[in-house]
């Protein structure tokens, strides 16, 4: 447009002026310089914004793809059930092992927590029931100091919580007339820092400060146990002012996959199993919805066109596991409709298009459009739906013309700086007000650049792992375009293959510089996609094909191991290992040589006692990022010098 040239001339003029030692440059020149700097800066910020957005896309795509895998696991269970007669007598035991946890939670379990001795040396909180404010204060102080609550008190707390929840209806009705304002929080996912920040900014739960927590208290974060203990403690302390809705993560299978089970077992080695059992009972007894002043409906996921609040109030919620597929196996067909009502409410997501369609991303619940929202609100005389379930950059988001609000309370969910958390306050006038925050690990304020870089790095690592996990398929795809084995394809072809194999809706061309190298002629050297990654502990018996399959499904395999390993010892027998693996690969249709599995099983049984430590086994199929100095396992592995 000519601006560039004119500045150049002016600047040259300025140079001459300077040499002649004339005074400061004229106003016109200053103006031009300022404009130039602004333009340059804006361009830089725009690029940053772009990177932030596609980083977000990466995280979301991978997260939803992970939830799709959940569907796969559930269908594996149904496959097992269908085929158990072929399991040569091993079938029924294996199946009952899988389904055993789903025992009626209404039944009282023999919990002899009073027999558990708390040693003198224990310096953590000693709770006394019924709880008082000093107990909750003690818990807060203890958790801030990284202490763990003794198993005896955890069990007692859960037992009392279960008793309380049994008396509660499926839908809780609240009124603003007794209190100033009600605070509504979204997903916490084990982020203790966020919960403490909310309490700090907004006040502790009390008669003057009532709260509604809208599900997903556990999984993914490292302090799920502490978060949920605090929430339950306040529930017991102020049952009229503290309200918890169930989320889709308050569920046995989700906990196996997303970390809560592991966290409990790590923190409570002796009593972990009992504690987990009680947690599952309590989760299934959590109410599924809250209504404020008959006008605001709060549920974790959303609604469907079948949602009916009167019907929802009447069903026996504790009989329903939050997990769709597993339920279908266990629950009689007559009760199918019941479970769908609950699954819809815990799993659905709003969308822009009208109508109601199955939520294929999540494998459960629906996508519901503005017309569905409108209809439900009208039907029940409501004016607003508040839900959570989806991470939002600003911590909250409105849609459906303001009739639906998503509230999410775990800041930095994907990565440091990825998003804010938020909570809503609503008073008698029923107008929601939003409060945002972000937990920060450093006292110094991070620049946008630093935050974007950190988030981007994390997202790209996760993406590279996905590429690695699908290496053979990708190579096949590339080679179809590269019949002459040059090792190169065009950028378009490269993008096409990635999209077809990974089925993640991402801007591949924009990401290309981070994922693959270009040859001098501008084509992509596709092998370079996998250069940066290597196996954790290379096992010589493991072919790359087997390694890849095991890596891709390691989460599922881990879940299955955890189910089989009833006493959570970390060990399973070789026979069980072989058996499960054969079933899983049959289900996947993956051709893995039986003898390869046998060899593998034998080689992993390091002490030859017929049992496998599957944590060690899975470590082998962890992927290491070779060039990433921040990888905590890398330096350890490097010192072993075992790279092939």
């Amino acid at each position: 447009m000519g601006c560039g040239t004119s500045v150049a001339t002016e600047t040259q003029g300025k140079r001459v002026e300077r040499d002649e030692a004339v005074q400061t440059p004229g106003p016109a020149l200053t103006m031009k310089a300022a404009v130039l700097i602004q333009r340059w800066y804006r361009r830089y910020m725009a690029r940053l914004e772009m990177r932030r957005r596609y980083t977000w896309n990466i995280f979301q795509s991978i997260e939803y793809a992970g939830e799709q895998d959940q569907l796969q696991l559930s269908s594996f269970f149904s496959f097992m059930l269908d085929n158990f007669t072929q399991l040569n007598g091993n079938g029924p035991d294996l199946i009952s092992q899988l389904l055993d946890p789903v025992v009626d939670p209404w039944l009282d379990r023999e919990i002899c927590y009073s027999l558990i001795l708390v040693p003198e040396s224990y310096s953590g909180p000693r709770l006394s029931f019924p709880l008082s404010v000093s107990d909750t204060n003690a818990l807060l102080a203890a958790f801030k100091e990284q202490q763990t609550l003794h198993a005896r008190y955890v069990l007692q707390l859960l037992y009392e919580t279960k008793k309380l929840l049994k008396q509660m209806p499926n839908i809780i009705h609240l009124s603003t007339s007794y209190t100033k304002e009600i605070t509504i929080c979204g997903d916490l996912h084990g982020r203790l820092d966020d919960l403490l920040l909310i309490f700090y900014k907004n006040g502790l739960p009390s008669a003057e400060t009532p709260y509604v927590f809208n599900g997903d208290f556990v999984d993914r974060g490292k302090k799920s146990v502490e978060v949920v203990i605090l929430l339950f403690a306040y529930l017991l302390l102020y049952p009229d002012n503290m309200h918890l809705n169930r989320g889709n993560h308050e569920d046995y299978i989700m906990n196996l996959r997303y970390g809560f089970t592991k966290e409990v077992m790590q923190k409570y080695k002796t009593h972990g199993q009992e504690i987990l059992q009680l947690f599952q009972d309590v989760f299934s007894l959590l109410p599924v919805a809250t209504v404020i002043d008959g006008k605001i409906l709060i549920v974790h996921g959303g609604i469907s066109d079948q949602t009916n609040l009167d019907f929802l109030s009447s069903i026996e919620r504790h009989k329903v596991s939050g997990n769709n597929q597993l339920c279908l196996i266990v629950v009689h067909l007559i009760e199918c409709f019941h479970l769908e009502q609950i699954v819809d409410v815990l799993w659905s997501d709003p969308k822009i298009q009208e109508g109601c369609s199955p939520n294929t991303f999540r494998g459960g619940g629906c996508y519901f459009g503005p017309d569905v929202t409108q209809r439900l609100l009208l039907q029940h005389g409501l004016q607003l739906l508040i839900r959570s379930h989806e991470c939002k950059q600003e911590g909250y988001e409105l849609c459906h013309g303001g009739q639906v609000i998503t509230i999410f309370s775990a800041s930095n969910y994907y990565e440091e700086g990825s998003n804010r958390g938020a909570y809503i306050k609503v008073g008698r006038e029923l107008v929601p007000r939003f409060y945002q925050y972000q937990v920060s690990r450093t006292t110094r304020k991070l620049t946008l650049t630093q935050r974007v870089r950190a988030a981007e790095g994390s997202a790209l690592r996760a993406l590279k792992e996905k590429l690695f996990a699908h290496r053979s398929e990708l190579m096949c795809g590339f080679q179809e375009y590269d019949q002459n084995y040059t090792g190169r394809v065009s950028v378009s072809e490269w993008a096409l293959v990635l999209e077809a194999v990974l089925r993640l809706d991402l801007p591949w061309r924009t990401l290309r510089p981070h994922l693959a190298r270009l040859a001098p002629d501008g084509s992509v050297e596709y092998q370079s996609c996998f250069e940066d990654m290597g196996p954790g502990i290379p096992l010589p018996q493991v072919t790359s094909n087997l390694a890849e399959t095991l890596f891709r499904y390691r989460t599922d395999i881990e879940i299955i191991f955890n189910i089989i390993d009833k006493d959570h010892s970390g060990l399973i027998s070789i026979e069980e290992f072989r058996h499960t693996w054969r079933l899983f690969s049959a289900h996947l249709g993956v051709a893995i040589d039986d003898s390869a599995i046998d060899d593998l099983a034998r080689s992993i049984d390091f002490n030859k006692d017929g049992s496998i430590d599957f944590t060690e086994f899975l470590e082998a199929f962890r992927v290491v990022h070779k060039l990433d100095s921040k990888d905590p396992h890398l330096s350890e592995k490097m010192s072993r010098k075992k790279y092939s």
Binding site: M1, C3, G4, V7, A8, T11, K14, T24, P25, L29, T30, M31, K32, A33, A34, V35, L36, I37, Q38, R39, W40, Y41, R42, R43, Y44, M45, A46, R47, E49, M50, R53, Y54, N57, I352, R444, K445, T447, L448, T449, T486, R488, V489, S490, V491, S492, A495, P507, R509, T510, P513, H514, D521, S523
Partner: protein, 163 residues
């Protein structure tokens, strides 16, 4: 991969289209091929161009749907393709940038005080918001001395991979 000259021109055009679409889609929240007109600047900047505010106004006038506040991909794509193929808003060379900073650094200190930069950005050039100013200061200022060493900053901000 052997390609004739005709094909490479076509592929080049198709690649340009794909780049523009990818950038556009990142801001297309409703997935209906429209973006808010206020995001257009960001999209154009992120595609490697350096329009001034006046340039942006002209561009938007060309492609906006009758002051609806939205821009549709159908009109954006041809206009933006032209901009990219004709190199309409060329980038600023580093040395020019340096000279611009030196113009503002009237006392020849080698750095700018935050107050100085703020004055120029908000009073001199094109409209620059308070938020932009705050982020700029946080991003560019040296942590300890709290001044802007512009030579370093120019180099730092240029390291990011070019797309």
């Amino acid at each position: 991969m052997a390609e004739s000259n005709n094909q490479s021109a076509e592929t080049k055009l198709s690649d340009v289209h794909k780049r523009i679409k990818a950038a556009f889609e990142t801001f297309d929240n409703a997935a209906n091929n429209t973006v808010d007109v206020r995001e257009i600047g960001t999209i154009i900047y992120s595609l490697g161009c350096f329009p001034s505010q006046a340039d942006l106004h002209d561009f938007i006038a060309e492609v906006e749907e009758d002051h609806s506040g939205y821009i549709h991909l159908d009109r954006f794509l041809p206009a933006m393709t032209k901009v990219l193929l004709e190199h309409k808003f060329p980038p600023i060379p580093k040395d020019l940038l340096l000279q611009a900073f030196e113009v503002l650094d009237k006392d020849n200190k080698g750095y700018l005080e935050p107050e100085e930069l703020t004055k120029y950005m908000t009073q001199e050039g094109e409209p620059f918001t308070q938020e932009e100013m705050e982020e700029m200061l946080t991003g560019l200022a040296d942590h300890e001395r709290n001044v802007i060493y512009y030579k370093d900053v120019i180099n730092q901000l240029a390291i990011d991979p070019d797309m």
